[in-house]
Symmetry: C2
Subunit: 198 residues, 2 copies
DNA sequence: GGGGCTTGTAATCATACGATTACATCATCC
DNA sequence: GGATGATGTAATCGTATGATTACAAGCCCC
């Protein structure tokens, strides 16, 4: 037995939540195991279960935290912008910036795909509508602007989640789709891609 | 033992593929079990495994068939349309028409979210790009039109997959988002909703 | 310096699930 | 009419996995 450095539980929870976002994003709720998450966080499997009670509780917290982070990112972009004309592009760029943390977008995608689950579904729905509200009210988007924005976000999630970015340099159609979708933010995607290849 | 009516294997495979699309769509790859699929198809679990070799093979076939169906639907819409002006709306309407079979859209979503998987990922990517090609070439969409169309499709998948449609009549914000997204096709969503409530 | 709280692991359990095997039933051909 | 192949199930196996338990080791306060 080699007990790791002892760390306050609150901090350890944060580490686990970070690791879990990655793992849930990659493997989905069913595919991810508490042991995989534990290894990614550098601790033992039972400790993960003890700190969160259950795998289900864990992903609920992961989803809530993910939504919080997305909203915080948007809030920043809204705050430092005063021209309502360019605000959509600014917030969109902020969202694309989140690809650098693969876990965030992929976790969102998995969450929305688990709408059937009695525990996960409600959390995902509340998170999505909280983001919708923020765009409508804080950002001042119209309903149509918000729909357009969310649609673009879901496409981004799909492109990243499907792993197509790996074919960015070998498939011209993929390149076309990505250039059209990410435009000047495309370098961010490439950066996130090489980062994820570890 | 109560052997069901004996049915040719080819036909039984179709039944299983239909059932599997529903179950995989609802529960995801990890959450779905071969037994659940078997029960949905009205047969025993071992027979599912025998007819497809493995759960992994099964979902691969489900994804391929789902993409085929989407493309066939689009092809129909393209064929009976001669005005390139209204073609995007026509194809979009055709896609929304697919919500009546919940399994199709949800399976697509699960497939794209499993891009990491060494077996499922490639199939999902090929399917997505086949659809992209069809829109670009057969439908004659520009890259930008195609991006817009796919984004809208992914939003639709998300809205249906997250289960938000159940709150259509109780949450004004949800109603706003759905009206903006589906417009005159909204009744189709309601119909699909009540259909899924069984 | 020791009692008690916190942080952590090893060992183990119970179960769910995909897969395999062996067997049953029916149709068809000769 | 019985051999053969196709269609199907019951029983079972091996393993992965979430959870539980028991225990170890540091920290802190008095």
């Amino acid at each position: 037995m080699k007990p790791r450095d002892r760390i306050p539980a609150a901090e350890r929870r944060e580490q686990i939540l970070d690791a879990a976002a990655q793992v849930f994003g990659e493997l989905g709720y069913g595919g991810a195991t508490t042991d995989t998450i534990a290894r990614a966080a550098g601790i033992s499997q039972p400790y993960v279960v003890r700190l969160f009670g259950s795998k289900e509780n864990l992903i609920v917290e992961v989803i809530e935290r993910t939504c919080d982070r997305v909203m915080a990112t948007f809030r920043e972009a809204i705050a430092l912008e005063d021209d309502p004309e360019t605000l959509p592009r600014r917030i969109g760029g902020a969202y694309i910036g989140l690809v650098s943390d693969r876990g965030i977008l992929l976790t969102l995608m998995q969450a929305f795909g688990a709408g059937h689950d009695p525990k996960i579904g409600p959390v995902a729905r509340i998170g999505l509508m909280r983001i919708y509200d923020q765009l409508r009210e804080e950002a001042g988007f119209s309903a149509e602007q918000t729909r357009e924005f969310l649609a673009q976000g879901m496409l981004i999630n799909t492109l990243i989640g499907s792993g197509l970015s790996a074919q960015l340099d070998t498939d011209a159609r993929v390149a076309e789709l990505f250039e059209c979708t990410f435009q000047d933010k495309l370098p961010l995607v490439r950066a996130g891609m090489s980062l994820a290849a570890r």
